[in-house]
């Protein structure tokens, strides 16, 4: 019984009816306006918008990005127009699209997260929240929430209490035990996970002798970190029963397949948008052929394929 004639790419996740598993990652797509000039955003599975904090933020001094071998460092510092700006300007503009919006929530203290989560979840344009407990850039917070299981759990349940939409917790890879973190936030009520955020890294300029980023350290993303993402998704997906939106270095349709085989239910693309602004629609276009090549009916047959018994007819 072949499903070849139906939609082979759709995926249902808590709060999210995805046409396909591909979405831009938070912070790499702004609030969509810029990429809307390149293609129709309706093509996307979902959109993860830039982190929203309670107040508007300018972020870190520049330089904020630096290239590394097969990767980049960023220390944007959560620049965003603040809750009010996102609610009044960004979300109304995004409401024109037929694509689920996942709102990334950040903060320096629990109260901020809770406030932002409560308000954003009430927007009819927001389909789900992504709790950014892992941003390593902001000195006043982030790092602690994402590295101590109890703190992450506490934050998760506080946000769950106020959110009217499903909550995906975005895990930091800068931890000794990612499985412990994942289990803690699952137990605290997370509806899903997204992983991984950036690895903390640094580059130093030989002449000035100073770090290239004005902030010193920054978050490492891009193909360099993909093996770390794959490993963590592989571990975590076997240990929890909530779905994972995978990310970290995805650049090609093969990378998407690899990440889903590792255990991701959908895949977000970050840095690669900067290299090729058309990367998301291009990969979406290539997916059906790739499924044919691999002899797979429906994209969901891939999820966790590296550790599940083969269930689809090959």
């Amino acid at each position: 019984m072949s499903r070849l004639n139906t939609n082979r790419l759709n995926i249902e996740l808590p709060g999210l009816s995805l046409k396909n598993p591909i979405m831009p990652a938070s912070g790499c797509f702004g609030f969509g306006a810029e990429y809307a000039e390149f293609y129709n955003l309706d093509l996307l599975g979902a959109i993860m918008i830039k982190a929203t904090t309670a107040e508007a933020r300018f972020g870190n001094p520049t330089p904020r990005v630096a290239e590394t071998t097969a990767g980049m460092l960023n220390a944007i510092g959560l620049q965003n127009p603040g809750l009010e700006g996102v609610l009044t300007k960004e979300l109304p503009r995004l409401s024109q699209y037929d694509v689920p919006i996942i709102a990334n929530v950040a903060g320096a203290q629990m109260e901020d997260y809770v406030e932002v989560a409560r308000e954003l979840s009430q927007s009819p344009t927001v389909a789900a929240l992504e709790l950014n407990i892992s941003c390593p850039n902001v000195k006043q917070g982030g790092i602690a929430f994402g590295t101590v299981p109890e703190v992450a759990a506490e934050l998760t349940s506080a946000v769950k209490q106020v959110s009217t939409k499903p909550v995906y917790v975005k895990l930091s890879p800068n931890v000794s035990d990612i499985v412990e973190m994942a289990k803690a936030v699952e137990a605290a009520g997370a509806d899903g996970l997204s992983m991984i955020n950036t690895l903390l890294g640094m580059r130093i300029d030989l002449k000035s002798r100073k770090p290239i980023l004005a902030n010193g350290a920054g978050g490492l993303s891009g193909p360099a970190i993909k093996p770390v993402a794959i490993r963590m998704i592989h571990q975590v997906s076997q240990a929890v029963s909530i779905p994972i939106i995978g990310m970290g270095g995805v650049q090609t349709v093969d990378d998407v397949i690899e990440m889903m085989l590792a255990g991701a239910s959908a895949v977000a693309i970050g840095t690669a948008n900067f290299v090729d602004p058309y990367i998301c629609p291009n990969i979406i276009k290539e997916l059906p052929n790739k499924l044919d090549e691999l002899g797979i009916d429906h994209i969901t047959d891939l999820i966790g394929g590296s550790w599940k018994e083969l269930c689809s007819v090959r």
């Binding site: 912070g27 990005v65 980049m72 193909p223 948008n273 900067f274």
Partner: protein, 259 residues
């Protein structure tokens, strides 16, 4: 509009110490009508140098659909670019950004174009457009040393051209501001591009005047999505107001943003 395309290398040549002139061709060039805009180039199809490199548009010939850029070999990306040969293809995103406001200069007025080092190239296309608008142009171009000077002849053919070198090995001794003072150059409007200290000096000199500066900043996306390239505005220098160099700029009016 399709902003990304593969362009063909027509030619590449060394024009000064580590400075190359690169000519590309392709339909995409049709869109490149504003001087001061830039393109974002991949230096190869390899993943080790991940990001695109921003380079200014130096000149455009729409009849042949060719685009000229001039760049200095600084690091690995420009080094790799310098090995491209005619016939090779280059992945280009552009034109990007907001260029020099040609329309702010009225026919008959005098425009002073001030460039420093690899900030010189975009002034060339600007100068040509100003001239075709009936604007008189004066060029002041600053370089480190004699070996770094390029395009002097080309600029001379468009209008008065003064060269300054920091070490005094060619032209006026000192910075462009020294040359402007020494030659007592007068103008109605100023356009400039170059290193930050030069732009700061010019901003002081032409505060409140019709003067425009083109900034440089490390970029991620080049299209306004990543917030890598922001700067503060002068009216809110420590607040949350900002401009993006890649889309609001790279050209700003003096006094608009904190340099």
């Amino acid at each position: 509009m399709q902003k990304q395309a593969m362009l063909k290398v027509e030619s590449q040549r060394l024009v000064a110490d580590r400075i190359y002139e690169l000519i590309l061709s392709g339909e995409q060039v049709k869109q490149m009508v504003n001087p001061g805009q830039f393109v974002h180039l991949k230096t190869g199809s390899f993943d080790d140098l991940l990001l695109r490199r921003p380079l200014s548009i130096c000149d455009v010939d729409s009849s042949t659909e060719t685009l000229k850029m001039i760049y200095r070999v600084e690091g690995k990306g420009t080094e790799r670019l310098s090995h491209k040969k005619s016939g090779d293809e280059i992945d280009l995103l552009g034109p990007l950004g907001t260029g020099f406001p040609v329309e702010e200069a009225q026919p008959g007025e005098t425009a002073l174009l001030v460039g420093g080092g690899i900030g010189v190239p975009p002034l060339y296309y600007l100068s040509k457009q100003l001239i075709s608008r009936g604007v008189r142009v004066i060029h002041v171009l600053g370089f480190q040393s004699k070996k770094d000077v390029f395009y002097e002849e080309e600029f001379k053919q468009l209008g008065d051209t003064y060269i300054a070198t920091v070490d005094g090995t060619y032209g006026t001794n000192g910075f462009v501001t020294d040359a402007i003072a020494r030659m007592e150059l007068q103008s109605d409007i100023v356009y400039s591009c170059g290193p930050t200290p030069m732009l700061r000096a010019l901003s002081d000199l032409y505060k409140g005047k019709r003067a425009y500066v083109s900034l440089e900043e490390r970029m991620g996306c080049g299209i306004g999505a990543c917030f890598a390239c922001v700067c503060h505005t002068e009216d809110d220098p420590t607040g949350t107001s900002y401009r993006k160099v890649c889309t609001d700029g790279p050209v700003f009016k003096v006094g608009e943003v904190v340099i």
